[in-house]
Symmetry: none
Subunit: 442 residues, 2 copies
Amino acid sequence: MKKKVILVILDGLGDEYIPELNGTPLEYASNETVTLNKMANEGMCGLVNVIAPGIPPSSDTAHFTIFGYDLSKEYTGRGYFEALGANIPINEGEVALRFNLATVEKSNNLLYIRDRRAGRISGKDAEELVRALQKAISERGIPAEVHHTLEHRGVLVIKGEGKLSRCVSDVDPHESNVPVLKAMPFEEISGEELEAAKRTARVINEVTKLSYEVLNDHPVNREREEKGLPKANIILSRGAGIAIKLTTFREKWGMNAAYVAGGPLYKGVAKAVGMKEIYVEGATGTVNTNLKGKIDGVLRAIDAGYDFVFLHIKGTDSLSHDKKSREKAEFILKIDKVLDKLLEIDDVVIAVTGDHSTSSRMGRHIGLPVPIAFYSKSVIRRNGISKFNEVQCAEKGALGVIKGSDIMPMLLDLSNRTMEYGLRPSPKKVIYAGAFGEPLQL
Amino acid sequence: MKKKVILVILDGLGDEYIPELNGTPLEYASNETVTLNKMANEGMCGLVNVIAPGIPPSSDTAHFTIFGYDLSKEYTGRGYFEALGANIPINEGEVALRFNLATVEKSNNLLYIRDRRAGRISGKDAEELVRALQKAISERGIPAEVHHTLEHRGVLVIKGEGKLSRCVSDVDPHESNVPVLKAMPFEEISGEELEAAKRTARVINEVTKLSYEVLNDHPVNREREEKGLPKANIILSRGAGIAIKLTTFREKWGMNAAYVAGGPLYKGVAKAVGMKEIYVEGATGTVNTNLKGKIDGVLRAIDAGYDFVFLHIKGTDSLSHDKKSREKAEFILKIDKVLDKLLEIDDVVIAVTGDHSTSSRMGRHIGLPVPIAFYSKSVIRRNGISKFNEVQCAEKGALGVIKGSDIMPMLLDLSNRTMEYGLRPSPKKVIYAGAFGEPLQL
């Protein structure tokens, strides 16, 4: 019998050794976690190199890989996911970039970055500045749109007649006290793609220059200056992504999929692959998210007949970026308290893992593997793990080390949805049972 | 000094946790196995993902991979191995498919499968039906042959003038109560290959329809009906394979190879790569096989000067498919009792592993890794393994997790037959010591 599948991603779950905790935050928490330890003990564990050892994945490339998509062939760029997640209208072929409102200082015709987040500007100030920029863009007839999203963040959409490309470098140098960069086509492209990238880069550079022109002396910024706040006098864009119809998750794996998530990026990735949203009141993608409500959302999705439910919890990562190791451990305990309900579902396979490790000492993604536990009442090889954490998963995991791209095939196998390698009852490449061909007519 | 190599494949060796055994069948057996535990303790162990985590290999793709062949480039399809293993004459360029005699019911011009094995028909009934079908095929001048092999099984060979292709989907949907499928060219092929696949599919579909026409009212089936037995009124073919000269095992690895096997498929794969058969009386490929005789066969092969001997034992897999966990454990004990003789051979490297895991709870191949032990008096790193099983290999194996394609390079290295990566004393790609080029003439 085919089982249902629940994939729980605790963002940035893995971590490094924190002296004050005498272990990683998860190791520290695992002295008290109950459900996670049960899943590890009665299930199978291992470590996951989501992309490869030493490669710290971004959250979108990590999720895309875990969902079974090939980064080298199918990745469309982060901006597209961001736009989808923020409900920004985007048409096929258009390119989206996320941006920050930032503070720059002009010197010798270059714009030096002083604050990549313009003092974490937000609310009406940010909205008004983006609106002003949009007005100028429209007046000049530049084929682009800017949308404010959360706090200092926004999305830039490149439109227009000609073919566009996501293969353009970031304007944002991801560092302070260096000049704002020129968007440029990737070196490795050529032909039509290169022409499209040149066109896309031209529009991005035009909008970037215009943003300084419009925003530097804008009344909002003059007011901010008077208050001693940094001016938000440029938009720094990055992560160009193109809106392209992807092979859906259902086409790839034969499962109807739904998601429960708070953070816009995760919603965006899930939407891009055709998963349906299960809306949960108070699911904010922050540490104050409605954890109980999210678990109920998963149960609702299962009841509604979805085969696959993706549950995303962001707080673990945010606390790591804020260098709050102890709070990360405490948040893991909070999650552990609500997870038990999932174990009561019949005929389900559950995997719990992270999309990457995040160092709560350094506040950045790191390339160390993440622990994983597969829990199911079938196809399990028991390992002697008593505590679900990075160290025990490495020492005693029944699975050893796997890659991010192995997770979906494993879930398919554990849920009785797979076919033996080489079987081909369909002209299409068959991975999952049920992908049948045409009947023979007499 | 170069050592000889013995590769022992216990088919479907790995398994899942079986509550009644408080472990996997191998884990349970390893409380009593002697030789396997000695090999693990004095040798080196690890886990093998034969294809990749979560991908349950078929037996032929598994063996082909373990022998060091590249599935994406060199795999010729299962039917070819089946034909070779059953000693069915097949010429280069012809396509073979295995088939089942099956029971179908006609409804709205479609044929619904009621029993994929026609009540496990065998003997004279099966022979006579296949003969009747062959007669009709010949009368119509269809370029094909059908051969009965064992029980409800047979092999269909597609012949003819034009180029043929193995890239056609299965007529057998691998499920009951769904319609018989139309053979169709794979989606990913084009050009000449596509034309060849269309031609091949046309013949397969013609034979399939004809089989219903000829068999449905055949006297044998009328008699079966009267006895309350299911009619064998169609042949369901699958696994098209093309007869192509493969790079031989000797060309690839520099070793003269022989095999000891009972099951036709394994004989077929071994033959296809040019291994020589060591015939063993009573080697049946069943649980009643002549285990002692097979070990003697390996010793004979070593004495005869073969560098590499492949020993295949099928019973472990068959018992798993029959969901007999305890019997699987007992069969492993029986194997363990005869393996000791292999350890007495001087200057030999022995590897024991499975081609895949098979769940003896569900009776199907699963995508969990298989344990492996390399035993040799050289190039060994001892691990603290006291019992050869899936769990100890995961927890304490000196090798960690390897892939199926790593086994041959490891055996070459352990047997002093390898060359450092990059060394090139031959215009050919050099892997093994002894692959030399032409001497310089003065």
